[in-house]
């Protein structure tokens, strides 16, 4: 525990240091005003910049702007807006005083007919980075009953497979990489810091501004060891807003969220709060065999799931100051979350449980600091530190009871639990610190240095097996990941080269001489070090056609659960090493307009991956306990394509399609049977991975009517079809083992009043009540209805 205590101390020391810095202040004033066109119209979203200070802001919907906390002195104020002449003027900021400066913009004297206004939203700018990145704005989803997961599902190349309904285990995969190979971040920080309920299935879409999906090459500044990509969820950063929503629907599902931010423009003090709660009985119908007490099959029936309730709640609070001279952002945060999950079945629906539950609680204090021009001009830094304290419980304590799918219990003299008798408590501490710095040589060139360190410690105890030896052994992990990158950017090029360093130290235990008289468990320490590197470039061939290419040689360090096991069904493997991959991506994106009403965007990318030492679950013969091992090699070649058509603001039609050929490239496999410990021929060499869809896509059509019945109201209608071609359940190419083609239709109708202040939406998913399956033939919910009410301020 010495090390854990040290980390807690370090965390608080960092916090105090940053607070102390904040007391040292200068003399400040502010400037505010209104921006109008020469015809007297109030202009919203005009970019205003104070030259020599780098402070900037956009005017609000009434054309007002305000720049607080400007060190006193003379500045050039600049304003720019599409279709208007640029504006600049000199102003003087006086200490402790607000200067009023109103601006009138002159319209450009050019016939609009020949102009294509290429105003770029944030998501467009993200999409144009050198990385293969897709950014989705939550804008179109805010009124929907969606979670972050549903927003992600619409992106090409992405599959999210689920064991069941709300709260069920999800497996996110991107071009064949899945699980921990794809890292999740919230505002640039690894999401596993956040505890159980802060995951993509629970996060309400209203908490999110946009989601950036990095396919393959992961930017250095994310400071991580992702293998196949990363997902960064960017939460709403507006200074002042309130968004309250509640949705309810089928399977007794309720989701509520409150998201709010308040900023005092005079002193920069800001408070942000996100709170959510989710509940569902997940009692959707499944078609399953009904067995009697003797396990005799009686008949097949559509019956409701009976032990699958899920509850979760989360609270994220951040308070501090923004836009101060000493800090662009200095925020102290606190996240708390809890969830409680009933387990209905195992990896397949063959086994049904009626008593197994899992739950978790976590609390995470954090501090975040960012500053542009830190000490040196053009040096930007940001620092984040957090301490996640989590308690998890897994309870399987019913003895001699088995359930059938009707929820009927049958009793025997058996002393076992339903799965594996246990009552395990895992107490985890994870402290993470991430430091990013960027130095801009000039407008075009910059270097960035990034360093992330994390420390993990686990104490576990099983009250059903108090003497379990692994639980008395140390379980701690130190990870260091450093990165250095160079970036070049101008109006045509966007390019980066980078190197990464990975180091891992694990203190754990190892079982020696399994099933021999000398069998013993000993504490051991292992180290590993690796270097990764890569490059990415994007080039505008024409102003509307961009090409991208990227390559990365990357590693992923094993996770805590993979090294230490989960205290239940997964044994530790102290020898587990990093998995590695070579990723190559090539992409093209093109958009054009046919007159001012029709806008078309076409994009496509090619993917090639070679991965080895993949971390796999090993199931041993005659042993229900599994562990992780570095095993096979795979190769992925794939293409993705997306197309979007937009007519005015009224109609849109978009489609994407992903084809990924993920094949097994392992020539020899380890023979794990009890009598053999040798390598043997892999007769499935070159075969496509089972349980992994290889052709899938989405089609989305939307209609939006503004000022539908009243002025400033809006009615919109969305229709989504998602398609997955049939794929194999096993390594064979036998028709019997095919997961059939899936086609799901979803429809959504939403109506908002007063510019989106009051909103109501209704959603019907799986309209045709199709029988939908996931990997291993897991059944998904049939037709379901949801209503969502939302209020924003």
């Amino acid at each position: 525990m010495y090390s854990a205590t040290l980390h807690i101390k370090l965390f608080f020391a960092t916090t105090l240091l940053l607070i102390a810095t904040s007391i040292n202040a200068q003399n400040f004033g502010s400037v505010s005003g209104t921006i109008k066109s020469s015809s007297g119209e109030h202009l919203p979203a005009v970019n205003i910049l104070l030259q020599g200070n780098s402070h900037g802001i956009s005017s609000n919907e009434n054309g007002n702007y305000s720049l607080p906390n400007i060190p006193s002195g003379k500045y050039m104020i600049q304003a720019s807006y599409m279709g208007f002449e640029n504006y600049s003027a000199e102003i003087t900021i006086t200490a402790n005083k607000n200067t009023t400066h109103n601006i009138v913009l002159e319209e450009k004297n050019i016939k609009i007919k020949d102009i294509q206004v290429n105003g770029k939203s944030t998501t467009t700018k993200i999409n144009e980075q050198a990385y293969t990145v897709t950014s989705v704005s939550s804008k179109g989803l805010l009124n929907s009953t969606a979670s972050a997961k549903d927003a992600l599902k619409k992106i090409s190349g992405i599959r999210i497979s689920e064991d069941g309904g709300l709260g069920s285990t999800m497996n996110f995969s991107m071009n064949g990489f899945s699980g921990a190979q794809v890292k999740f971040f919230m505002d640039g920080l690894p999401i596993d810091n956040s505890g159980g309920a802060f995951n993509i299935g629970d996060l309400p879409v209203n908490m999110i501004e946009r989601i950036d999906v990095y396919n393959g090459v992961v930017p250095v500044w994310l400071g991580s060891d992702a293998l196949g990509g990363a997902v960064n969820i960017v939460t709403n950063k507006q200074l002042n807003y309130t968004d309250i929503s509640y949705s309810f629907g089928s399977f007794n599902t309720h989701k509520a969220s409150i998201n709010t931010a308040h900023t005092n423009t005079d002193n920069g003090f800001t408070v942000r709060a996100n709170a959510f709660g989710n509940y569902s009985d997940n009692n959707y119908k499944v078609y399953v065999p009904i067995r009697d007490g003797n396990n005799q099959l009686l008949y097949y029936k559509d019956t409701k799931r009976f032990h699958d309730r899920y509850r979760s709640a989360g609270l994220k609070l951040e308070a501090g100051v923004v836009k101060k001279s000493y800090a662009d952002e200095l925020l102290l945060g606190l996240m708390a979350s809890a969830n409680d999950n009933e387990i209905q079945h195992g990896a397949t629906m063959e086994t049904v449980y009626g008593g197994i539950v899992r739950n978790s609680r976590s609390i995470t204090p954090s501090v975040r600091y960012s500053k542009q021009n830190f000490i040196l001009p053009n040096l930007d830094i940001n620092l984040f530190s957090s301490l996640n304290i989590q308690e998890q419980e897994v309870i399987d304590t019913l003895r001699g009871v088995t359930y059938n799918w009707l929820g009927e219990a049958f009793y025997s003299n058996n002393d076992d639990g339903e799965l594996s008798r246990t009552n395990t408590k895992l107490n985890d501490i994870l402290s993470s610190t991430q430091f990013n710095s960027t130095y801009h040589f000039n407008k075009e060139q910059s270097v960035a240095f990034n360093y992330a360190y994390s420390y993990f410690n686990r104490d576990s105890y099983d009250s059903e097996w108090p003497d379990k030896i692994e639980n008395s052994m140390p379980k701690s992990l130190h990870k260091h990941i450093g990165g250095l990158s160079y970036q070049f950017e101008n109006h045509k090029w966007n390019a980066t080269v980078f190197g990464k360093f990975y180091a891992l130290t694990a203190n754990t235990s190892k079982l020696f001489d399994y099933a021999l008289s000398t069998e013993r468990t000993e504490a051991i320490t292992t180290h590993s070090q690796n270097f990764g590197y890569g490059a990415a470039a994007a080039y505008f061939i024409t102003p509307t056609l961009q090409a991208k290419a990227s390559y990365e040689h990357t590693y992923r360090l094993p996770s805590a659960d993979e090294i230490f096991g989960n205290g239940l069904t997964v044994d530790p493997n102290p020898d587990l090493g990093p998995e590695q991959s070579n990723n190559f991506n090539l992409g093209l994106n093109y958009h054009f307009r046919i007159n001012e009403y029709h806008h078309l965007n076409i994009g496509g990318s090619f993917i090639y991956r070679q991965a080895k030492d993949l971390i796999y679950t090993v199931v041993q013969v005659a042993n229900p306990i599994t562990y992780y091992e570095n095993l096979s090699n795979t190769k992925t070649t794939g293409v993705e394509a997306n197309i979007k058509y937009q007519w005015k603001d009224i109609f849109s039609l978009s489609a994407n399609l992903t084809y990924q050929d993920i094949t097994d490239q392992t020539k020899f496999i380890f023979n794990n049977s009890y009598s053999g410990n040798n390598y043997q021929t892999n007769y499935h060499y070159g075969y496509r991975l089972p349980n992994t869809p290889y052709l899938f896509g989405n089609l989305n059509a939307g209609l939006t009517f503004k000022d539908f019945a009243y002025s400033s109201d809006c009615l919109s209608f969305n229709y989504l079809i998602s398609y997955t071609k049939e794929y194999y359940l096993t390594w064979s190419k036998n028709d019997k083992y095919i997961i059939p083609k899936q086609m799901a239709h979803n429809v959504e109708l939403s109506y908002s009043l007063k510019n989106g202040k009051y909103n109501i939406s209704a959603n019907c998913s799986n309209i045709f009540n199709s029988r939908l399956y996931d990997k291993f033939y897991l059944q998904k919910p049939g037709r379901a209805f949801y209503i969502k009410l939302r209020y924003t301020l």
Partner: protein, 409 residues
């Protein structure tokens, strides 16, 4: 439309690119299953590359087992998981293991067909063994060292239905935790079930000073008693299911090896074969085939009765003290004579490593020939053993990770 030539060209290229992507995606045609034909059958197992136990078991018919290279890849019936095989009459019974609790059958094998059927009955635990009892009956057993009960099922072999089931507390078999199944045979009015005590967590075998067999009534399957004999150690071993066999007269033979190579952590008694005479329910005190006194000290965990007192045995040629734990190696086939107590090695077959599975499932007899798969360095070959002159001929190469079943239909 104010588009210049260059942008038209780019649009065209973009559309062509998209079209290429959308049309190149559809491959993989439908697949016709090839079950093969002929009077022989092989179940070959294929390992998954993810290191899991989800092997793919495929059964295909063959005309000949002695020529060329045979593989079952993408052919035949297919089962996924862990399965064992027992052919009785017109059906192959294939209970699932390792969490699979179903009984599958491959049917109509005599009509030049293979039809896989999953029985409607799912058991409380995996069926560990399946033994022929009467003309149309078999006994199936659920038993593991971590369970507190032994369940016996009487199976109708015509339709694979369960006729009756009994449950016996395993404390009646042994006062110690963890009696583990090692073999079963049915003779007259008795079901004999052999076991050894193995610690469910460490697999240590702490009680090895006598042979023990549980006796049940047949066809009632009610527990009667436990018989024991201290001339040798426990009967049978881990997973080989060959502890007991029945000869032409209904006599039961029980083998004790206490091999480290087959799941024992220690040994102290002589290895050998005991007998229970037909109609009796006690060990025959006059009979003991002592592998030390009568043989060369080599032991065996794999036996298959051939007829006329002859038995195919896979002899472990290493001294028990030197055997590698759990290795099921090194093995050499031999023909034992139970009456003359002789051992004749088949010298045409090189030493090999066993797969640790039931010998009667992976080998079969046709007249005086025995077909046996043998793993060599460059693959698994079928050998045809002549039980008269102890010679063997090398046959087909099998492309698979192991053989789970071989049949003569």
């Amino acid at each position: 439309m104010h588009l210049n030539f260059k942008s038209k060209l780019t649009q065209l290229l973009a559309i062509a690119f998209m079209a290429g992507i959308f049309t190149s995606c559809d491959d993989d045609n439908d697949f016709e299953i090839n079950y093969g034909s002929g009077n022989y059958g092989i179940t070959m197992a294929y390992a998954p590359s993810d290191g899991s136990y989800n092997y793919t078991y495929r059964t295909v018919r063959y005309e000949s087992l002695m020529d060329g290279t045979l593989n079952n890849i993408n052919k035949g019936t297919e089962q996924l998981g862990y399965f064992s095989y027992t052919q009785i009459n017109d059906m192959i019974f294939s209970p699932g293991g390792l969490e699979l609790e179903t009984l599958e059958t491959i049917e109509d094998v005599s009509n030049d067909e293979l039809r896989l059927r999953t029985n409607s009955y799912s058991f409380n635990a995996s069926i560990v063994d399946f033994v022929k009892a009467g003309t149309n009956t078999a006994v199936a057993v659920e038993m593991s060292s971590s369970s507190t009960v032994v369940r016996l099922h009487l199976i109708n072999t015509n339709d694979a239905s369960v006729t009756s089931t009994t449950e016996t507390n395993s404390s009646l078999l042994s006062p110690y935790t963890g009696p583990a199944y090692s073999g079963m045979a049915v003779s007259g009015n008795y079901v004999f079930l052999s076991y050894y005590v193995s610690n469910p967590t460490s697999f240590a075998t702490d009680y090895i000073d006598k042979a023990e067999i549980a006796v049940f009534s047949y066809p009632e399957l009610e527990f009667i008693k436990v018989i024991s004999d201290d001339r040798t150690g426990p009967i049978g071993g881990f997973n080989t299911l060959s502890g007991l066999m029945k000869d032409d007269n209904g006599d039961i033979y029980a083998v004790s090896h206490t091999n480290k190579a087959n799941g024992y952590s220690q040994f102290n008694e002589n290895a050998g074969i005991l007998r229970i005479k037909s109609g009796e329910s006690e060990f025959d005190t006059d009979y003991f085939f002592d592998f030390n006194a009568d043989g060369d000290g080599n032991t065996t965990a794999h036996l298959m009765f051939l007829g006329n007192n002859k038995v195919l045995a896979l002899m472990n040629t290493q001294n028990r003290a030197e055997q590698a734990s759990w290795s099921d190696a090194p093995l050499k086939p031999a023909i034992l004579d139970l009456s003359a107590k002789t051992i004749n090695y088949i010298n045409d077959i090189p030493e090999f490593s066993g797969s640790g599975r039931k010998l009667t499932a992976i080998a079969f007899q046709e007249d005086n020939y025995i077909y046996l798969p043998v793993g060599e360095d460059d693959g698994i070959y079928i050998y045809r053993i002549n039980s008269n002159d102890y010679s063997a001929t090398k046959g087909a190469l099998l492309e698979c990770n192991f053989v789970a079943g071989m049949y003569k239909f």
